[in-house]
C-alpha cells in the first residue's frame, strides 16, 4: 500500500488522500479549491458556515467535516453549489454590517473575496441591521461585533492554539453572538495581540489597533488574485483530468 491509499474523484478529477484527511484537506493538497469560510487549516473544523458543502455520493456534505473515503464521488464546482454558496455569503452580509468600501479589511477579507469569487453583486435578502456593541476595551485589539460572522475560528484558536478560552458563543438562533471571557470586555481577558485567535478572523471583527493600513488598499491579498488562487496554483498542469474553467 502506498501512503496515499484513498482515491476518489472531484468533478471527475482523480484525487488521492491519506487516511485521516478530510475532503477539504485532500483537495487543498491536490490543488482543487473548495470555497470555505469558517475552515482554517490550523484549526479543528467546526462546520459553522457550510460554504464548503459539496455533493458527496449524491448527498450534501460539508467538506471540512467529511472524512476522505475511498471511491467517493464528489461534486464541487457546479452551478447549483455556486448559487447555494453565494446565497450563504449574501446571508452573512445582511446578517451583520459589512461596509466594504470603508472597511479596514477590504482586500484582505475572506467574506468580501468570496462574494467576488462566487459572483455576488448586491445582496437580495433583507438587511437585519443588528445593534451590537463595539468592544474597544483592549489596548491593542478592537472587537467589532457588527462584523462578526460567527465562524468560531477565534473560539477554536483561543482554546486549542492559545490555551486560553477567551471566546465563546452566547445565545441561540439569530440572536447568537460572540462572547468574551470577562464581564468588562476583551480588555479584561488574557487576550494578547500576538495570539493565534487575533490573526484568524476572516473579516474585520477582530482588528489589531494601529496596524490596519500597513499594507495599503489595492496591494492586499485578494486585490492581487481571487481567493483560492494559492490553492489552485498547487495543481500540476498535467494532461490528466483537464483544468476547470
Amino acid at each position: 500500500m502506498t501512503a496515499k491509499a484513498i482515491q476518489f474523484t472531484v468533478d471527475g478529477i482523480a484525487v488521492a488522500a491519506t487516511a485521516g484527511q478530510s475532503l477539504i484537506e485532500a483537495c487543498d493538497d491536490a490543488g482543487i479549491y473548495i470555497p470555505r469560510l469558517c475552515h482554517h487549516p490550523d484549526l479543528t473544523p467546526s462546520g459553522n458556515c457550510r460554504v464548503c458543502t459539496c455533493t458527496v455520493n449524491g448527498r450534501q456534505s460539508a467538506a471540512c467535516v467529511t472524512p476522505a473515503a475511498h471511491g467517493m464521488v464528489v461534486e464541487n464546482d457546479t452551478p447549483r453549489l455556486t448559487d447555494d454558496r453565494r446565497t450563504i455569503i449574501e446571508m452573512l452580509f445582511v446578517e451583520g454590517i459589512h461596509p466594504c468600501p470603508y472597511c479596514v479589511a477590504s482586500g484582505d477579507c475572506e467574506l468580501q473575496a468570496l462574494g467576488y469569487r462566487l459572483g455576488m453583486t448586491a445582496p437580495t435578502e433583507a438587511y437585519l441591521w443588528p445593534r451590537r456593541k463595539l468592544d474597544a476595551t483592549h489596548p491593542d485589539i478592537t472587537l467589532d461585533h457588527d462584523r462578526c460572522i460567527l465562524c468560531s475560528r477565534c473560539i477554536r484558536a483561543s482554546r486549542m492554539e492559545d490555551g486560553k478560552t477567551v471566546f465563546g458563543f452566547e445565545g441561540r438562533g439569530i440572536a447568537m453572538r460572540l462572547n468574551v471571557d470577562a464581564q468588562g470586555g476583551l480588555g479584561e481577558t488574557q487576550m494578547a495581540a500576538i495570539d493565534k485567535a487575533a490573526s484568524v478572523c476572516p473579516v474585520a471583527c477582530i482588528v489589531i489597533k494601529r496596524d490596519s493600513y500597513r499594507v495599503p488598499n489595492g496591494e492586499r491579498r485578494f486585490d492581487k488574485a481571487p481567493i483560492g488562487s494559492d490553492i489552485e496554483a498547487r495543481r500540476r498542469p498535467s494532461g490528466s483530468g483537464g483544468h476547470r474553467s
Binding site: G47, R50, V94, F169, E170, N179
Partner: protein, 605 residues
C-alpha cells in the same frame, strides 16, 4: 448577605453533582431553581468549581429558554404560542394576563412577582390554550380564568408558594385549571391487553441478546420520531461498536408543535417505556439508560421517579434485572430546559453532556460515538413501547399490522378544528380522510402532517396514507377548517423555526429569519411573483446547505403549502414587478420622530 448565599448554594450544588462538568444541565437547573437566575457571580463560582472558563458556562446557559442570566419574576407565566393555541383563543388569554398584571408580553412586573411571555408548544395541543407557571401546566384557559389564577398566585407566600422550575414535589394543585387531561382517545393493539409486570423482560431474558435484536429486526420496526430508521439495525450497530460502556437513551424531548403522544405514553404507560429501554439494554449489553425529558414535561418528574423506584423494588431495574445475574441496568432522567433543537439526537447528546444543544456532524454516528463518546442507541418513546410489545407478542404479530414498509401501528396526536382531539392508535396505511372521520374533522380544509417540519396537505391529497413510504410522520396532526388563514399559519410555522434554530450554522440561522420575513411580506399582501420565486429558491438553499434536520426541514411548510395551496398565494400577490419590503411611511418613521413633523409629499404631475 446575597453573595454569601450564592456561594453557599453553588458550593452545595457542585458537591451534590460531584463537580462533574457533564452534569452541567442539572447543576445550572439547580442554581436557577434555588437562586432564581444564573448570575454573573454564580457563573464565576461554577466555572471555578468545574475547572472551566466562565465563557463556557455562559455559552451553555444562554442557549436554553428556561435558564435566566438576569432576575425575572418569581412566577413565570409562559403561554404556548402555536398555530393551535392561536385558533383556540390564546391571544385573548394573553391580553387578559396583560390587563390583569399591567404589563406587556415579555415584561416583568415592577414588584418582581410576575413575568409574562410566550413559549413554543408545550405539548398540550389537545387542550389549548395552555400555559406553564413555573413548572405547573395550566390547560383549557379562558380569559375569565386569568383573574383567579393571578389572585391565587399573589396569595401564595414566598415560603408556601410555588417553587421555581423544576418542581420536585406535587405543587400547584390550588391553581385553577392546573390539570392535564389524559388524552388517549383510541387505543389499538399496542396499548391494549397490557402485559403483566415483568412479562416483557421475562420474554427478553428467555432469548440471547442477538435473538432479541433479530426479533426487533424481523418485526421491521422503524423509529417513531419521524425519521423511520430501522430500530433493529440501530441496535445491531450499537451492540457491534466497541466501547467502555454502551448507553440506551430515550428521546422524550417531544417538541414538535402539535404532538403530545409521548406525554400520554409517559403519563399512562411509563412501564412499557421502561420495559422497552430495559430490553434494549439487555440487547446492547448496557448498564446505563437515560431518559431525556423535555423541560415542559417537568410536571411528570415525580410520577416517573415513582415508577422507576417501584421497578427497582420489584427487581426490574438495578442489580440483576429480572433475576438475571450480571444484567445490571438503571435509568436516570435528565430534564431539558426549553430547546426544540434537543429533540435532534446529536443535539440531545450534547445537552446530556451539559453543553449547548448544537448538533454534531456525522459521521461518526451515535451508534459508535454517542453519549460521552460511547456507543449509544437513541430511540423515541413510542419506539421503546413498540419494542416492549414485540418482545412479548412476537415479531410476526407486529409485522402483521400496517403496510409492508411501515409495520405496526402509529400513535397520532390530533388537534385543531376537530371534535375529538387526542391520541389515536391507528394502523400504518390509514388515509388522512379515514383519520379525519375518526376525529370528527371531516370539514377540514388543511391538515399539517408531522408538525411545522412536515407537510401541508390540502383536501385533494386526503386520500394519501400515513406511512413512511407516503406521508411520513412523527404523529403531529393539526387540523384546520375553512375559516382559517392558511398563509397566517404557515408564517406562524416559519416563526417557530426562527425561535428554535440553534444558530450554529449560517444557512439555518439566517435563512429561517429570511424565510419568515419573506413569508410575512406574502401575508401582508406586498409580495410579487418574483418574491415567491426568490422565497422558493431560498427555501431550497436552506434545505440543501443546513447542518441538521431542523434547517433541512424548516422550509417544508413554505414549499409544501406553495404546492398544496397555490390559490392562497395567488390571491395575495401584487401585479407589479417590484414592491419594496417596507412602505415609504415605514422607511421614514425614524426621521419623522427625529424631526417631529411629517414629510411634505411632492404633488404628482
Amino acid at each position: 448577605m446575597e453573595e454569601d448565599r450564592t456561594m453557599a448554594e453553588v458550593e452545595d450544588i457542585l458537591a451534590q453533582f460531584g463537580s462533574d462538568r457533564t452534569r452541567l444541565m442539572d447543576i445550572v437547573m439547580a442554581v436557577q431553581h434555588r437562586l432564581g437566575h444564573v448570575s454573573d457571580a454564580s457563573v464565576g463560582l461554577l466555572a471555578k468549581g468545574l475547572g472551566i472558563e466562565p465563557v463556557e458556562i455562559e455559552d451553555m446557559v444562554s442557549f436554553y429558554s428556561f435558564f435566566d442570566r438576569v432576575p425575572r419574576g418569581r412566577f413565570r407565566i409562559r403561554l404556548a404560542k402555536t398555530a393551535i393555541s392561536h385558533i383556540k383563543g390564546a391571544q385573548a388569554v394573553a391580553e387578559a394576563f396583560e390587563h390583569e398584571l399591567g404589563i406587556a408580553m415579555g415584561e416583568t412586573t415592577a414588584d418582581g412577582e410576575f413575568t409574562l411571555e410566550w413559549t413554543s408548544d408545550i405539548g398540550m395541543a389537545d387542550q389549548e390554550p395552555s400555559a406553564l407557571v413555573n413548572g405547573v401546566v395550566l390547560t383549557a384557559l379562558t380569559p375569565s380564568d386569568v383573574a383567579h389564577i393571578v389572585a391565587a398566585l399573589r396569595q401564595s407566600g414566598h415560603e408556601g408558594g410555588l417553587p421555581q422550575y423544576p418542581p420536585h414535589r406535587t405543587q400547584g394543585a390550588a391553581l385553577p385549571k392546573a390539570s392535564v387531561q389524559p388524552g388517549l382517545v383510541k387505543a389499538g393493539p399496542l396499548l391494549s391487553a397490557l402485559p403483566a409486570p415483568g412479562a416483557v423482560i421475562g420474554a427478553a431474558l428467555a432469548m440471547t441478546p442477538d435473538a432479541v435484536i433479530a426479533q426487533i429486526t424481523a418485526s421491521k420496526l422503524r423509529g417513531r420520531g419521524g425519521a423511520g430508521f430501522p430500530t433493529g439495525m440501530k441496535w445491531r450497530l450499537t451492540r457491534k461498536s466497541k466501547g467502555k460502556q454502551h448507553y440506551v437513551v430515550c428521546n422524550a424531548d417531544e417538541g414538535e408543535p402539535g404532538t403530545f403522544k409521548d406525554r400520554v405514553l409517559l403519563s399512562e404507560f411509563p412501564d412499557l417505556v421502561f420495559d422497552g429501554m430495559t430490553v434494549a439494554a439487555f440487547a446492547l449489553g448496557s448498564s446505563q439508560g437515560l431518559l431525556y425529558l423535555r423541560g415542559e414535561y417537568a410536571y411528570l418528574w415525580d410520577h416517573l421517579q415513582g415508577v422507576l423506584d417501584a421497578r427497582r423494588k420489584s427487581g426490574l431495574l438495578g442489580k440483576a434485572v429480572g433475576g438475571r445475574r450480571g444484567f445490571d441496568f438503571d435509568i436516570r432522567i435528565q430534564l431539558g430546559a426549553g430547546a426544540y433543537m434537543c429533540g435532534e439526537e446529536s443535539s440531545l447528546l450534547e445537552s446530556l453532556e451539559g453543553k449547548r444543544g448544537a448538533p454534531r456532524d456525522r459521521p461518526p454516528f451515535p451508534t459508535e460515538h454517542g453519549y460521552l463518546g460511547q456507543p449509544t442507541a437513541i430511540d423515541n418513546v413510542e419506539t421503546f413501547v413498540c419494542a416492549a410489545r414485540i418482545m412479548e407478542r412476537g415479531a410476526a404479530w407486529f409485522a402483521g399490522m400496517g403496510t409492508a414498509l411501515s409495520t405496526g401501528t402509529k400513535l397520532m396526536s390530533v388537534a385543531g378544528d376537530c371534535t375529538y382531539p387526542g391520541v389515536y392508535e391507528v394502523p400504518f396505511g390509514i388515509t388522512v380522510n379515514a383519520l379525519l372521520d375518526l376525529v370528527g374533522g371531516s370539514d377540514a380544509e388543511f391538515v399539517q402532517i408531522s408538525g411545522p417540519s412536515g407537510q401541508s396537505v390540502s383536501p385533494r391529497d386526503f386520500g394519501r396514507q400515513i406511512a413512511f413510504e407516503d406521508l411520513s410522520t412523527g404523529g403531529s396532526t393539526m387540523v384546520f377548517g375553512r375559516q382559517r388563514d392558511v398563509l397566517g399559519i404557515i408564517l406562524q410555522f416559519a416563526d417557530f423555526f426562527v425561535d428554535e434554530s440553534c444558530g450554529w450554522c449560517a444557512p439555518c440561522r439566517i435563512g429561517t429569519t429570511q424565510l419568515s420575513l419573506a413569508m410575512a411580506k406574502v401575508v401582508a399582501g406586498r409580495a410579487t411573483r418574483a418574491d415567491l420565486t426568490a422565497m422558493e429558491a431560498l427555501s431550497h438553499t436552506v434545505m440543501r446547505m443546513s447542518r441538521c434536520g431542523l434547517g433541512q426541514m424548516a422550509p417544508n411548510p413554505i414549499l409544501s403549502s406553495m404546492k398544496s395551496f397555490p390559490e392562497a398565494f395567488e390571491a395575495r400577490l401584487r401585479p407589479e414587478a417590484f414592491v419594496p419590503r417596507v412602505t415609504l411611511e415605514q422607511a421614514l418613521q425614524d426621521a419623522v420622530v427625529v424631526q417631529g413633523r411629517q414629510p411634505v409629499m411632492e404633488a404628482s404631475a
